[in-house]
Every structure is written in structure tokens, then in C-alpha cells.
Subunit: 127 residues, 2 copies
Amino acid sequence: MDAALKALAEPRRRAILRLVWSQELPATDIAERFDDVSRPAISQHLSVLKDANLVIERREGTRRLYRANRDTMSELRAFLDDYWTSGLERLRDVAEAAQARKRQTTHTTPTRATRATRPTRATKGER
Amino acid sequence: MDAALKALAEPRRRAILRLVWSQELPATDIAERFDDVSRPAISQHLSVLKDANLVIERREGTRRLYRANRDTMSELRAFLDDYWTSGLERLRDVAEAAQARKRQTTHTTPTRATRATRPTRATKGER
DNA sequence: GCCAATATTAAGTTGACACTTACGTAAGCT
DNA sequence: AGCTTACGTAAGTGTCAACTTAATATTGGC
């Protein structure tokens, strides 16, 4: 999902994905729509999209036909919908935020040494 | 919308956005959750998120409080839902693919002047 | 086998960007 | 005023990724 999001951050790839959204197209056809970029560039973009599972490649003779993988797109949407609101640590964070703030205003923090209540780190590992 | 998508491509920023999703937090509190990155780095991320309209900044004394801008998030979702399926030029593009291919074999177009017959390129300008 | 067509891979360049440390700035204390 | 806290900005660095041109697979037809 991380890969998909990163792949979509690039406008050119969104344009490509759009082209093959409702049509299967060979690489050449896709590259021809872009007059400001070389064919290898498109090929590389297609590779990224394929790795992110956003397009599906089908070989036919010497040609490679691409079409959007809509399933991944809906998975992505589900991910975006859930990601922020998925609870549990959500609640923990909120609770400790208040406590952290309180710790600060209640009294002039005597020292920084009171590290006993170390705050839970944000999840670096992306869930 | 482009900026929002690009901002979300970075995992750290997603983590930050998650932190302030249901709570307003001062910059320091946010930075404290990340032990593997410096405070200025977080500040820069917050700046990006703010530019992308994904968070809202509120000043209170010397502190700056951040919270997620959920409106932008739902706009983004709507954008993702519509972008690929929004028809019209979808069909035009497909139709003109063959034409573009044909035109290439003819004489090199002398000037860009023929605006009327100019093919609608894949939207580089994002819609 | 050889050639042409289709497309990716290799190698290198460039610009963006996620970081770092150092410094600047603004608001509240005492 | 001077100090501290809270935070952003400047400047520099290393890495990554989007592109280029040149070279390299595959496939199909002769």
C-alpha cells in the first residue's frame, strides 16, 4: 500500500493509470500520448506501477498490454479510509497528550529528569 | 490535490497526520513522539502538510497547535474516486490514439499552429 | 539464421527532498 | 532588560527518483 501511494504521487503515473483505466493498451500506444517524454521513461513508470500492483501486464506476441488493476485502487481507498481512524493507539495517544500537557502546566517542570513516564513513540513501522 | 497526494506519499507525514487526526497537538509534542528524527525535520514536515492544506495551524502564545484538516482528506478521497472514471476525455483519448499514430507517419507537423486538430494530450496539467 | 518490431535494461545526469546543525524570532517569565 | 521556552528558517549534505541516450533482450516473419 505504501508503494501504491508513492506511485500515485507522481502525476505522470496517474495520467498513465488513467489511460489504461478502461482500456488495455500496449506500451507504445501509451508512450505516444506523451510528447514530452521518451519511451523508456514510460516503460520505467509502467514498471513502478506494476510493482505497486496498480497495473496488470499481459504479453501478446512481442507486445505488452497494460490495464489498470482496479482492485488495488479500492484497497488503497479502504486503507486511506481506515488508516487515520483505526482506534486503539488513537485513544492512547489522545490520553497521553493531555497528560503531557498537564505535566507541563501543573508546575514548572522541576527537571527534565522525570523521564519515567516516557511517552509512547509514534509508530514508525506504519502500523 | 496534487500537493496533498505528494505529502501523503511520505510515511512520516502520514504518521504525523495520524497523531493530530483526533487531537490538536503543539509542535513539540509531535516531535517528541519521534525519537529518530530532529525537531526541525518535524517542523518541515508540518510545513508541507500545512501547504497541502492537510493540517490546520492555530497559534496560542508561543505555541503552535496543529490538527488534521479532515475536509481536505475527504476531498482527496473524492478526487481519487472520480479521477480515473471521469469519462468524456477518456473516450476522446482512446479515439485519438489511432489518429495520433497515423499522423506520425505523415509529414512532421511544421508548427503548433493547428490548434483545432491538436490532439488532446494525456492531461499533464491534472485535469 | 537474419532482420525488423516491440519493449525493457544499463549507465549516467540532474533536481528534488528528507534530513542535519546552526541560527533567528517571537512570546512569556522574573 | 535579560532569560527561557517554543518554533521556524538557513544552509549544507546524502540519497533517491525521473529523466536521458545507448545497448540489450524477446518475438515473429522471411
